[in-house]
Every structure is written in structure tokens, then in C-alpha cells.
């Protein structure tokens, strides 16, 4: 399997603090892979580099055979990388449907004058985008009667669903999920795990996951990369990683190892 996304020797320094140190990493196409590590290991920083929110101090990013190291976040999204956030970042005053419509921004064409004059093709595009938004919200399991409510009024679990629908709206090849099961109970986590596998099957996606919940990670991932203090300390299949002494050390401290 070819790597759909490759990060080569990525380093990110904030002033004197090296948050990510020379990490190389590859996501095979069609797989579900995870990045784990203790708090402050640089997981989210690495994630932000992969989506273009941070520019790496050094190193290269290759997506789909293209160098995207210097691309802006919206360009990276347009190329086919979508993400969710650790602490939900929906557009609070918009309805669930509108949130998902924004997710399709990169796939739409209407500009300033098109929006004002509204030729038939713009109306058609608007209808199609709204229709797709409803379909995606159905797909993630948000009840129809909640589609047109303001997103901040919905429950935490529903907001998580909308975030996933919004990310899927840009037709990504690669979906990055930043701690999607944070705040979920074991039952919900288990259902989300099934959901991820379903999404991959239905849409031919590749999924990269950052996760704290070991049960979810071990159950769903085909490969796991472990970060600690910004460095990659281990990589491999769940079973290997679980037994790796450096991983146990990173999580539990030296004594336990």
C-alpha cells in the first residue's frame, strides 16, 4: 500500500522549545492509523502541522504525491485533507446544516457576483450543497429535526457528530480526528469505533486518529505511532507497540518498566 500522506523529518520549534523533533511518518492509503502519547507529547502540534495550521521549522509534507509543505490550511483541505478538533470548534451561531455547508466551501464555485445575481447554476449549487449537508447529517446519525437548530443548542454528542459531518463534507481522502472520543462514555466510544470503520468502508477514506482512550486505539488502528517529548519513540502494530518498553516507560514512568 502506498503512503497517501508522508511526513519527512518534521521539526517544529516554538522559540527554544522543540515541540516536534525530526518525526517521519507515513499513512498507508485506506488504513486507520493512530498517534498516541502522553500529554504534552506534541501530538496536537504534529496534527496542526499536517493540516497546515502550523508551518514546520524543517521537513517536508507529501500528500498524494504532491509537496504541500508551504500550502495554506484551506488549500490542503481543498486537496483532500479534512479534520475535526479536540475541543469542538463548530460555528456556534450557525445551524447544523449551515456548518456542514461551510465544509463544502472548497467544492463550490459561486463567487461574489454569482451570489448577488444568483444565476440558475448558483441556485442549483446551493440546493445541491444543502441536500448533501442533510445527507451527511443523516449519515452521522443526527436526527432530522435537529438539522436546522443552532449548533450551540445541541448536546455534546450531537456536536461531535456535526463536526465529523462537516469534515466529511469536503470529500476528503484523508480524515484526521483529534481525540474524537474525548468525553464519551465507553459505550459511545465503542459505537464511534464502529462508525470509523464504517466510514472507511463506505467512503474509501484513510483515517488518522489522535487518541487517549487506549481501548479505542488498540481496537481500531492498524498502525500506531507513539510520540513522547516531541520524538517518535515507537511505531508498529498495536500488539508490538503495547509491549514496547519505551512506550510503557513513556506512559507509566521508568519504575514500572
Amino acid at each position: 500500500m502506498a503512503g497517501v500522506y508522508e511526513a519527512q523529518n518534521i521539526t517544529k520549534a516554538f522559540g527554544g522549545l522543540v515541540a516536534v523533533d525530526d518525526v517521519s511518518f507515513e499513512i498507508p492509503e485506506g488504513s486507520i492509523v493512530s498517534i498516541i502519547g502522553p500529554n504534552g507529547a506534541g501530538k496536537t502540534t504534529f496534527f496542526n502541522i499536517l493540516t497546515g495550521l502550523y508551518k514546520p521549522t524543517s521537513g517536508r509534507l507529501i500528500f498524494d504525491g504532491r509537496d504541500i509543505t508551504r500550502k495554506r490550511p484551506d488549500q490542503i483541505t481543498a486537496l483532500g485533507v479534512a479534520r475535526t478538533f479536540q475541543n469542538i470548534r463548530l460555528f456556534g451561531t450557525m445551524t447544523a446544516t449551515e456548518n456542514v455547508m461551510v465544509g463544502q466551501h472548497a467544492r463550490m464555485k459561486a463567487g461574489l457576483f454569482g451570489s448577488i445575481i444568483r444565476p440558475p447554476w448558483v441556485n442549483k449549487e446551493e440546493d445541491a450543497v444543502a441536500e448533501k449537508a442533510h445527507e451527511l447529517l443523516d449519515y452521522v446519525g443526527l436526527h432530522r429535526r435537529l438539522h436546522d437548530l443552532i449548533s450551540v443548542e445541541l448536546s455534546y454528542g450531537d456536536q461531535r457528530r456535526i463536526e465529523v459531518a462537516r469534515a466529511l463534507a469536503s470529500n476528503p481522502k484523508l480524515l484526521l480526528l483529534d481525540e474524537p472520543t474525548a468525553g464519551m462514555n465507553p459505550n459511545e466510544s465503542e459505537r464511534f469505533r464502529e462508525f470509523m470503520q464504517m466510514v472507511r468502508g463506505d467512503r474509501g477514506l484513510t483515517i488518522l486518529l489522535i487518541e487517549h482512550d487506549m481501548k479505542v486505539v488498540m481496537g481500531v488502528s492498524e498502525r500506531i505511532t507513539v510520540l513522547d517529548h516531541g520524538e517518535k519513540v515507537a511505531e508498529g502494530e498495536p500488539q508490538e507497540v503495547r509491549e514496547n518498553p519505551r512506550v510503557i516507560e513513556a506512559y507509566l514512568g521508568k519504575q514500572a518498566a
Binding site: 490550511p73 466551501h105 451570489s115 469536503s170
Partner: protein
């Protein structure tokens, strides 16, 4: 406090019906538009009321332009007067004898009636001036947008404030800035007279019959309302609101921040410019004293009073503040102030606006006619605590 609470309750109950019932909303809209269209027939063609209403409608255009920048995209612009200035100056340059050297002293005339075709200077038809003003301001809007792109919140306000001040200073001292014999502006002397509006198929407008001016301003305001409404429910409008809500998330969803913000600045500025061009001709002078910082605050107050991001609210806010400025302060409040304290209250107009805003923030922070989404956010979010607070205070 009791009286305020009752007013607040009455207004909430009154407006709530329109939010809930779309049919009622359409009927009310048609009724308001119909009434507004026939208002001039009830007043003398040169009356002060039509004068104030015409100004109010021009301010509606401006406030709706600023609403795109501040209300939709959430970019706090404190230098909006710059676009009024540039629009009015475009009218002055392209529609008066100010550029007296143009065309070797004979003047340049494009699409204007024979009445002014012998006057020197550049005289272009108002429609051409309107387009020119929109373009000049859109470009200027993008120019002020550029340095603010990396900034957020308050810092944007500071940069835009400075830009407004720069344009004002240029307008004020423009009589000293010369290209050959041609000055840039006429400073606080003002460029005057300015060509009257001269629209195709209509007789040239006159200063003693204000009705055609009123209807032109009304048409411009309606057009601006329509454009605002369409933009809000479009790809671009959603992108603006997304940026207002969360820039990082918006960028991650594929919204190009630079392009989308510059569009907001340009579109908002274009409306300011068109209103400016109209007012230049209507007031018959383009005078640097019109372009002071206070005017930016005046327009911003309209947007806040009406409800940030709410199209009808902002239009209402513009009308209300214009009339407060034209009638309530000089005629009603000032009479009492004069007779009781021998004191000119009009000097304090801006303190009164400030006071009004404080009252608004206390009793109805979401504005007179809030945007539906924001209204929910504010009332649902703080609803319970708020009533308790007021109970305790009262």
C-alpha cells in the same frame, strides 16, 4: 428600571411574532416598503422631514455596508468614514467644476444634460460616478484590509481607525497637495457646487424638490438590502460568518482567509462609497469636516443599535439614529435643556449616542431586531440568569 423593563418586554413580545410567523413577516415587509415609498406625498417637496428621511436612507446604505464587515465577517472597522470620504470625493472629482483645467478648460462631459455641458471641470453621469466610487472604495477597502489580515479583534480596530484618520487628513489638507494646478481636495472649504443627480429618462434633480432624491436613496437602500440578504445566504456569506465564529476552524474547512476577508472589506467599502457619492451630490458639497472619526462611530452605532449582522435591524438602527440626531436631540431634548439649564445639548450628541448604546447593552444587547442566530445565542445562553438579575435590581 420598571419602565425600561416594560418597554423591553413589550418590544420583545412585539418582534417575537415576526420571528415566528413568516407570513406576518412578509405582510409587514410589504406594508413598510409601501408606506416608505409613498411617504413623500404627505409632505411638502422641500420639507425638513423628507430631507431627514433621504439622509436616513443614504445612511441605511452605509450601515448595511459596514454590517458586511463588522456584522457578517466580524472585523471591527473603526475607519468606515474613509469610504464615505472617498465616495464623496469621487463625486466631487467627477461631478463638479473642481477639476477646472480638464479638457483644456472646456471641461469633460460624459452623459450629462445640456444644462451643465458648458461648465468647465469633469462632469460624468451619476451612474458612472456611482460605479467609479464603488470601484475606488473597493480597492481602498482591500488596501486597508491588507495590513489587518494577520491581526485580530482590537488590533484590527486600531489599524482601521488610523486609516480613517489618514483619509480625513488627506481630505482636510488636500488643498495644499497639488498636481500641476489641480488640488486634490478643497479642504474644509469644500467642493461646491456639486452636480445634481441626473438619471436617464428623468428630468435633472432640483434642490427644491426633494422627492426624486428620496426615491433614489430609497432605491439604493432597497438594492443594498437585497444584496445583503442574498450574500448572507450564499457561499461567501457563510464563509464570512464562519470566520467571525472561528477563524482556525474556517480555514481548516477550506475557507481561504485572506481572500474572504478582503472580499468583505471590498464589498462593505463599495456600499460606503456609493452612499458617499449620493450624499456628495445631495448635500451639494464635499467638505473635509464631514469626514471626521465621529462619523465612523455614528455608523457603527447604527449597526450595533439595530443588531450586528441583522439586515433589517441595521436598516432600522440607521433610521432611528438619524432621526435621534435630527429631531430628538436638537428639537425635543435641546428645548428642555435650553429652557431649564441654558445649555446647548447638540454639543453633546455623541454623549447621547454613547448613553443610548449603554442602555441598549443593558436591556437588549442583541440589538433592536437581532439576527435570528445571534438572538438565540444571547437569549438562550443567558436567559435564566438575566431575568433573576433584573428581578433583584428592580
Amino acid at each position: 428600571m420598571n419602565a425600561l423593563r416594560n418597554v423591553r418586554r413589550w418590544w420583545s413580545a412585539f418582534t417575537q411574532r415576526f420571528y415566528e410567523n413568516p407570513n406576518l413577516r412578509y405582510v409587514a415587509t410589504a406594508l413598510v416598503l409601501g408606506l416608505v415609498a409613498i411617504v413623500p406625498f404627505f409632505y411638502d417637496p422641500a420639507s425638513g422631514f423628507i430631507d431627514a428621511s433621504t439622509t436616513a436612507l443614504a445612511y441605511v446604505v452605509m450601515a448595511l455596508g459596514l454590517n458586511i464587515v463588522v456584522g457578517f465577517a466580524g472585523l471591527l472597522d473603526l475607519g468606515y468614514v474613509a469610504f464615505y470620504a472617498l465616495g464623496a470625493l469621487t463625486m466631487g472629482w467627477l461631478g463638479s467644476a473642481f477639476a477646472y483645467g480638464a479638457g483644456n478648460g472646456k471641461g469633460i462631459h460624459i452623459g450629462v444634460s445640456s444644462a451643465i455641458s458648458h461648465i468647465p471641470g469633469i462632469h460624468a453621469n451619476f451612474l458612472i460616478v456611482l460605479v467609479a466610487a464603488a470601484i475606488v472604495c473597493a480597492v481602498a477597502g482591500m488596501l486597508i484590509g491588507l495590513p489587518t489580515l494577520r491581526l485580530r479583534g482590537d488590533y484590527i480596530a486600531i489599524v482601521t481607525l488610523a486609516f480613517g484618520e489618514i483619509v480625513y487628513r488627506f481630505a482636510l489638507n488636500g488643498d495644499q497637495i497639488k498636481f500641476g494646478n489641480q488640488a486634490l481636495t478643497n479642504g474644509s472649504q469644500g467642493i461646491t457646487p456639486v452636480d445634481k443627480l441626473d438619471l436617464p429618462f428623468l428630468a435633472p434633480f432640483q434642490s427644491l424638490n426633494l422627492r426624486p432624491w428620496y426615491w433614489t436613496a430609497l432605491a439604493m437602500a432597497m438594492l443594498t438590502l437585497l444584496v445583503n440578504a442574498r450574500l448572507r445566504e450564499s457561499r461567501l456569506g457563510r464563509a464570512w460568518i464562519a470566520i467571525r465564529e472561528d477563524e482556525v476552524a474556517a480555514a481548516s474547512m477550506g475557507v481561504p482567509l485572506v481572500k474572504t476577508k478582503l472580499m468583505a472589506y471590498a464589498t462593505g467599502a463599495a456600499f460606503g462609497g456609493m452612499a458617499g457619492a449620493f450624499l456628495g451630490s445631495y448635500l451639494n458639497t464635499v467638505n473635509a469636516d464631514q469626514f471626521q472619526f465621529a462619523f465612523s462611530i455614528f455608523v457603527l452605532s447604527m449597526v450595533i443599535l439595530g443588531g450586528l449582522g441583522s439586515i433589517w435591524g441595521v436598516a432600522l438602527g440607521a433610521v432611528v439614529l438619524t432621526f435621534v440626531n435630527r429631531y430628538l436631540i436638537p428639537n425635543v431634548l435641546n428645548d428642555k435643556a435650553q429652557s431649564w439649564f441654558n445649555f446647548d445639548l447638540t454639543q453633546l450628541s455623541f454623549s447621547i449616542f454613547g448613553f443610548l448604546l449603554v442602555i441598549m447593552m443593558l436591556i437588549r444587547p442583541e440589538g433592536l431586531l437581532p439576527e435570528r442566530r445571534r438572538k438565540m445565542e444571547l437569549t438562550e445562553g443567558v436567559g435564566v440568569g438575566e431575568t433573576e438579575l433584573i428581578e433583584v435590581r428592580a
